[in-house]
Symmetry: C2
Subunit: 420 residues, 2 copies
Amino acid sequence: MLAAALRDGTAHRRTTFEIFARRLPDGRRYGVVAGTARFVDALAQFTFDDEALSLLSDFCDRETLAYLADYRFSGDVDGYGEGELYFPGSPVLSVHGTFGECVVLETLALSIFNHDSAIASAAARMVSAAEGRALIEMGSRRTHEQAAVAAARAAYLAGFTASSNLEAQRVHGVPAVGTSAHAFTLLYTAPEGRPNEKAAFKAQVEALGADTTLLVDTYDITAGVANAVEVAGPELGAVRIDSGDLGVLARQVRDQLDRLGAHRTRIVVSGDLDEFGIAALRAEPVDIFGVGTSLVTGSGAPTAGMVYKLVEVDGMPVEKRSSHKESHGGRKQATRLAKTTGTVVEEVVHRYGEPPAGQRGLAERPLTEPLVRGGEPVGDLSLETARERVRAGLKSLPWHGLALSRGEPAIPTRMVARAT
Amino acid sequence: MLAAALRDGTAHRRTTFEIFARRLPDGRRYGVVAGTARFVDALAQFTFDDEALSLLSDFCDRETLAYLADYRFSGDVDGYGEGELYFPGSPVLSVHGTFGECVVLETLALSIFNHDSAIASAAARMVSAAEGRALIEMGSRRTHEQAAVAAARAAYLAGFTASSNLEAQRVHGVPAVGTSAHAFTLLYTAPEGRPNEKAAFKAQVEALGADTTLLVDTYDITAGVANAVEVAGPELGAVRIDSGDLGVLARQVRDQLDRLGAHRTRIVVSGDLDEFGIAALRAEPVDIFGVGTSLVTGSGAPTAGMVYKLVEVDGMPVEKRSSHKESHGGRKQATRLAKTTGTVVEEVVHRYGEPPAGQRGLAERPLTEPLVRGGEPVGDLSLETARERVRAGLKSLPWHGLALSRGEPAIPTRMVARAT
């Protein structure tokens, strides 16, 4: 595409590409925008070195290679603040520049937004289901080794407390926490093959202090809890249960801990939890949820289904006309309308620079912000700000918007017709 | 875990960790082992630099940091050849070394195997459904930007023809191919806003020659095909259809191409295809399938569900005993039994060095191979060999094993009891 468009000069036409989702996955009621800061960061690094150009010389003519050798995105990007909720048709990102500089960004932009938004959207449902209890992301081993780092970030963005991924702490500042695995307890098997859980607990407490989390379900949970409190004392930080009927076990373990005087020892549960499993445990004495597989796989929706579409060429709206996949041409902005109570009622997508007339009694909040100007990042791209946007977004939804069941988007999206 | 085990010396006990899947996902009948070569490669690079150690100093004591500063895996790894089929309980990988050197590999090993095997397992079903027709992987934009590269490799390993991911060519040698997007056709919109598909086709043919693939469904498919052949002539390489009822459209387009004399112009279809969609198009004149989302998300099973379990300590089998998650202790090997026709009948998992007695009339093929000795890679880790293993594996399945419907594993796995 680039080679052909460079040849006849059309690569230099001014364009706008837009990222949006035609629908929310799986009967979801809202999505969470994630990946914005990662994309802006990646944009600055998106250049072609000699090795890349040498590979591309099999595919591209000399003019195209010369163009890529000098490539550096110098256009503008607008979009939703990271952490904002989105709905079908929300113009989550708009990229403005020449066709040449925008078209080569498609895969990068979509990969980041489709992955990160899928994870954050699932994570927000878990956060909402946990009603204030702590959630730890521990799914690294269930997804690609680099995707795991981005998944830990997306989970934290959506309201998780921490992650077991140390690289996510290094790269993104996500708080890192960890627990021990069954292998650690099994390691302390005595020479004659006899289990020796107490030896494992003792070693862990000696290394990390009593305020650690002991995994109590390697052999027998009741014996495990007794061993744990015997070794660490009633100041034991937490016990983790990773198998069985978590609700029943949490109650039994709470009773046992209390009987042993370990009133402040918390209970961590893990093991194939998703938002439904978390909601089902709300009435149980669980303090912390550990979530793995369902988090990093988007709990049934591993990709957000966002697309990157050319919507404007030299100021003219353009759109695909063939069956079933209509896009709405023209550069756009969005506004969210809310009642005076703060509850949102509608998303309005309108042509850039042409905000629709306000509605009596409804507050309007513009959603589209400048993210990049002349190739340089602008605005607040911090993870803490994004976390705050998710918190505020979840609070702003009408009650049915937070339901975990399959349903319609929490609020409708109104596409305001072009003035032209 | 490492800090505690280093403190009292247990970190130096000899251990075996095993990777296996307790079950196949989603009623699948077989899985494809993928990630082996990536893991062996990553193993050599798994060390801790000063920056990593500095971060870890918040978590680890001095002894642990010193251990990690010198860390280099020096043990042995055995496993299934990459591309072998696997079933529940198959010991896909065995890692032998001290507890310290093995335990820190868990996340790396599982991330690679769970991701790559999920993609390869889905891809193999698509390859089998396509019955010899070409498949192009084009899902990069639907998954994390680095996962996309591994997904392209896993798809190729399982029998895909090529990928649109150039990085996968650079890193893994996967053949790269591409087509144009709707944005390219829309770019050629004439100044007054009039669509100008012919101008786009002309630019593409001038840049890439007539043996290119023109995307014909931006506006009207019949007009698109007419424009394509008018511009490129009957030597046009291919047309791509990306929307609508692909079967009906493929027939119409084939008729139209033949009427226009473009008998050798091939038809590429894409658009939300999975193995079922591919199978449904088997009777249609489709030459090439382009597969995106469903491939990179494992077609409903985005992770292979493999686990990394400690099975042996200082020669003693160890296993977890709590509810519902039993593992089978002891270092193991596996053998696959087949009829003289080559059709496989059973997977036998047995204790290391104790092969079970042969069965009359059945051929035995050992599955466990040395992959790493003393930290150094051994054996054939090439992608072409892995592709050949998938081809041979699919051919060896009983007929019901290739059915796309939900079912039981194609062959049973027999766990031979320990001799001890």
